[in-house]
Subunit: 625 residues, 2 copies
């Protein structure tokens, strides 16, 4: 299975076009400005001194590197002199401050020159990975080699120290990311050293006990077992997903079937036992970590934005390893929900954590003590964080969204085009040596109708039947021949110039969770197609937990209480206030109290917390009668 | 309204007799032995030196004092030479180590001789209060004055320093308790100085900003306002309830109507907004504190055993201030549930916290980090705690349970005997100057049938109509004349030798909480009479949250899975495992999934956690069809 890079696709309208324009016009600049204000850009001059504001932190290289990568993805679509000038200045500083031996890291250069490669948990190789990803992206977008050359020199130095000399204070990254970055460097340069080095880091991991802070266990950074023997998702969820992404890359490019088996088991462990209905992962703020199976508390969900992004990366690689719609289903679940919630509708503020329920009162309940005991996720997005990994990750994710749309399988007699995601777009791709033009016409996810037009040759086209599909069927105008459905994809034969015109079967559905997910028991989420809905207190009577939605009464509208955002309304019931009018807290009864009618309005989960602090919930009670 | 001291009543059989015997035979000795092992008894020798084990803590005086008080209540029923010998030895040490000026405190004598009365949060006056309560109890039980005389001297010294000289480092207790103890000293000695001193401490409180640790706010120890202006329950729940108890005492004995109004408002704030269905209070482990209205999370409930006891004390005083069955209703709710859960069925281990739900997996969810982020209450009782306030509080509570049974109102034309609580018992009390013999025959709470027999004179008898009553009615053998029902009491005229023979109307009921109590929304507790029931995983399929009980199918049995403990069985429903047999975590549906039949067994909440670690829940889903 071969990837189809996002640069082959032009999103021409609709849901993602709108978000890509926002990212270009608002988010890119907003994140740069916050980074500039907080000293992250100037830090690359490596001339910070005690007494100056904005003391550089050891993960700052990575923050800016991710921003460069995101900017590069936008430049790949359309060059921009002003943005390039900003990047070139940073690159000049990198080149100027790179050590003679090839090393580059702001923090260590300034504060810990004699402790290079000795502190495993301080993100040195993580920063290296993001700098490499940025260098590759910037080179591919602009042809400018300066940063790429710097990073090749740095990679050579890492290779020398970690793999050849083995004279470092630890042997594998404390925060994974370099593994997948080296694969990108390999794919960009064709130099197999970088694939080998990535493979080396994965093979070395978990072989020996490495130094670590005393608050973490080895599973925190996935060092409890060699990756090839791992079968479950453990520890810090961003570290984990980045490692798994690198593992799947290496498994694919080296044909390591044992590593592939590990990846498959871990992926299933995540999506069948550890993933919120939003696609968010990492249930606990303690270690920002994966926890135990079916531990999905909504109010306390940590579900870091970067973890959602990391899981999408992992799923993208798995989609290349194996044909199964669960990978694209997971990507779709993430990109419309747990990822998209991380950015405000105006594109300038961000969630680091993405809760599935908000009870504002819980944030102020401990009125008699100064420090409350429980960490609840913030209720509103921020412009910036001290640890600001998420905003630039969002910057690089949105412009490269088309990465997820297609793959081509040319391993069989006839090549097959896989359509994984749906968006109004035009793509030109290599199809078994020929050029194929693919065009999608759709208003997805507002509508489940999708028309996939091809020209350039005949083709087999495999269209994903989404997990939420209820009545996948051909529409008028379809001139493809349905062949069969396998592993979640409907295969069609499409003649040159032909069209698969289908209705994916998008309806409003209730979602039940398996009962082991105890915080969802007796409750239902509401989805329409891939979009998860939620209730907010601004649109509904609080407490939201008292609302019982009436199944079958749901009505979709492309508009609603938020401009440009759809909504679902439903009939509903709630407790009669008269039943507690005497002020009593408890009431003895022989049968459940009769309820009174009300109505409910749901908005997409991705749009929550854009109108001030109020209750929010994803999992709702329903009442049949 | 006059109290009827527990010494006037002999519990002759049934529920409480059994527990009083257990407390005498098991609990008293078990707590003493743990205190002896941990150095708490020897600490009274005040000769501890660096290098010795068991360094005395600043609250140890109070632990042992509460044990002495409990022992004294047992001695009041039946003298015991061996127990008295133990107490006399402690008293000898107190007398020997009391300072010339009257001061006594182990910790300050050993470690902080020059810092007496300077550290407001270190329990000095709290210890004094408990020593005074113990001295009064021991004197009343045995006539031995030695400890009482010591404590009068200590009280005189406190009076001198705090009220007369005012030369102390703080002006009111950081941990309240002394206020109510001084009232007991006043009632025992008749010396009005002690009532005055209690009144002084209450009047001084909140007048000025007192020194406090920087993690607490003034409301933590109820110093945010003068008590007379307080209207809500705030801060550390044990401190709070002890203060409110003292306030109600002083309001009654001084006729301070403003203080009475404060007490009434605070009591209502607790029972209408801040009390669990178990009678537990103090929702948060942060500060062991009252929080905001309707904050009653079950899984995180702190609900300290001492707080339940404190609220019962407060309600007992309110019962003397005002005729309203809500006070006795609250006492009943506590003594059968949130108090009684604090002691194991074998009488030797204890809960400090009393959760309303247990999900064992939550205790080990944070597998990748050493310190989990959230404090969950322990799942099993302990023999001992580092801070061991609860076990001796239980020791003193059980033998004095009859304190809650009766009051006499002789303020009107005819005296009225109020029957607040129900237990097989014989009482001899002063009834408007005459002696009245009162006998209750009942199997309460196994049965709601109660026969109250009086002899010695005719009487008005006011029997509480419990909050759970469904069909309060006279039974055969009743030869009392029903007069009227007022403020939750049914008044009868009973001739000398006559009997109020009634059925209180005990049925199994569902309990709904008002919707603002968000963690109870859509769920129901099960009660039978005053006894709250719960499900445990040992008797029912886990996850318990997946069980939906069928209203109307409940059946009571005086036996069940635990010897000597009743149970309730019910028809129930749960998720069909076939619905998730493919391993999927979520399932799209158009209507709630059909459920399959199962059955459920509930046991009294007081009996949970006696058979190993498993899930437990009080609030259940129900299904009507």
């Amino acid at each position: 299975m071969k990837p189809v890079d996002f640069t082959a696709t032009k999103i021409t309208g609709g849901f993602w076009k709108q978000r890509m324009e926002m990212a270009r016009k608002k988010t890119l600049g907003a994140v740069y400005d916050r980074f500039d204000e907080t000293g992250r850009i100037d830090a690359f001059r490596c001339d910070w001194q005690e007494g100056m504001p904005n003391r550089p932190h050891y993960f700052w290289d990575s923050d800016v590197a991710k921003w460069i990568e995101g900017a590069a993805y936008m430049l790949a679509e359309k060059r921009d002199r002003a943005i390039e000038k900003k990047i070139d200045k940073i690159v000049d500083n990198i080149a100027k401050n790179q050590w003679d031996d090839g090393y580059f890291n702001i923090y260590y250069t300034l504060f810990a020159r004699d402790r290079r490669f000795t502190l495993r948990d301080e993100h040195e190789l993580y920063c290296a990975g993001h700098l490499i990803e940025a260098a590759v992206a910037y080179y591919r977008a602009t042809g400018k080699r300066k940063m790429l050359d710097c990073m090749i020199r740095y990679a050579e130095y890492i290779d020398l120290r970690f793999r050849i000399k083995r004279d470092t204070g630890f042997s594998t990254p404390g925060h994974e990311e370099l593994e997948l970055a080296l694969v990108k460097l390999y794919e960009c340069t064709g130099d197999k050293r970088w694939l080998d080095l990535s493979e080396f880091f994965i093979a070395e991991r978990g072989k020996s006990v490495e130094p670590m802070p005393n608050w973490m266990r080895a599973s925190y950074n996935q060092s409890h077992l060699p990756p090839v023997k791992q079968r479950t998702a453990e520890g810090h969820s961003v570290r984990a997903c980045y490692l798994y992404t690198g593992m799947a890359d290496v498994a694919r490019l080296t044909g390591n079937d044992e590593l592939k088996e590990a990846c498959k088991a871990i992926f299933d462990d995540i999506i069948y036992k550890k993933m919120y209905v939003s696609g968010g992962v990492g249930s606990s703020s303690a270690g920002e970590a994966f926890t135990v199976p079916f531990d999905l508390p909504n109010l306390l969900a940590y579900t870091e934005s970067c973890a959602a992004i990391g899981l999408a990366f992992f799923a993208l690689r798995m989609q290349l390893l194996e044909t199964d719609s669960k990978y694209a289903d997971t990507i779709e679940r993430i990109i419309y929900n747990g990822f998209l919630s991380s950015i405000s509708l105006d594109g300038t503020s961000f969630f680091y954590e993405n809760p599935l329920e908000i009870l504002p009162y819980m944030h102020t309940r401990d009125a008699s003590v100064v420090n409350p005991s429980i960490h609840f996720p913030p209720m509103q997005r921020s412009k910036m964080f001290g640890c600001s990994c998420c905003p630039p990750n969002i910057v690089r994710f949105i412009p490269s969204i088309a990465n997820f749309m297609y793959t081509v399988d040319d391993s069989g007699d006839v090549p097959v085009l896989f359509v994984h995601q749906f968006a109004q777009s035009k793509t030109v791709l290599d199809f078994g040596g020929a050029q194929l033009n693919v065009s999608q016409r759709t208003r997805f996810p507002d509508s489940g109708r999708v028309s996939v037009n091809i020209s350039g040759s005949d083709a087999r086209v495999a269209v994903r039947v989404p997990f939420w599909s209820d009545g996948f069927k051909a529409l008028k105008g379809n001139n493809a021949s349905y062949l069969f459905t396998r592993s979640g994809y409907a295969y069609f034969y499409v003649p040159d110039g032909g069209c698969v015109n289908i209705d994916l079967g998008m309806k409003i559905s209730l979602v039940a969770a398996r009962p082991e997910s105890r915080f969802d028991c007796g409750k239902f989420a509401v989805m329409r197609g891939p979009v998860l809905y939620c209730m907010e207190g601004i649109d509904n009577p609080e407490p939201l937990r008292d609302i019982r939605l009436k199944p079958g009464s749901f009505r979709y509208s492309p508009t609603g209480p938020i401009d440009g955002v759809p909504s679902i309304t439903a009939k509903a019931f709630r407790t009669a206030s008269a039943d507690f009018a005497d002020g009593s807290l408890y009431r003895q009864t022989s049968a459940p109290l009769p309820l009174v009618k009300t109505s409910a309005t749901l908005i997409p989960y991705y749009a929550f917390a854009n109108r001030g602090v109020c209750e929010m919930q994803v999992w709702n009670f329903v009442k049949e009668k």
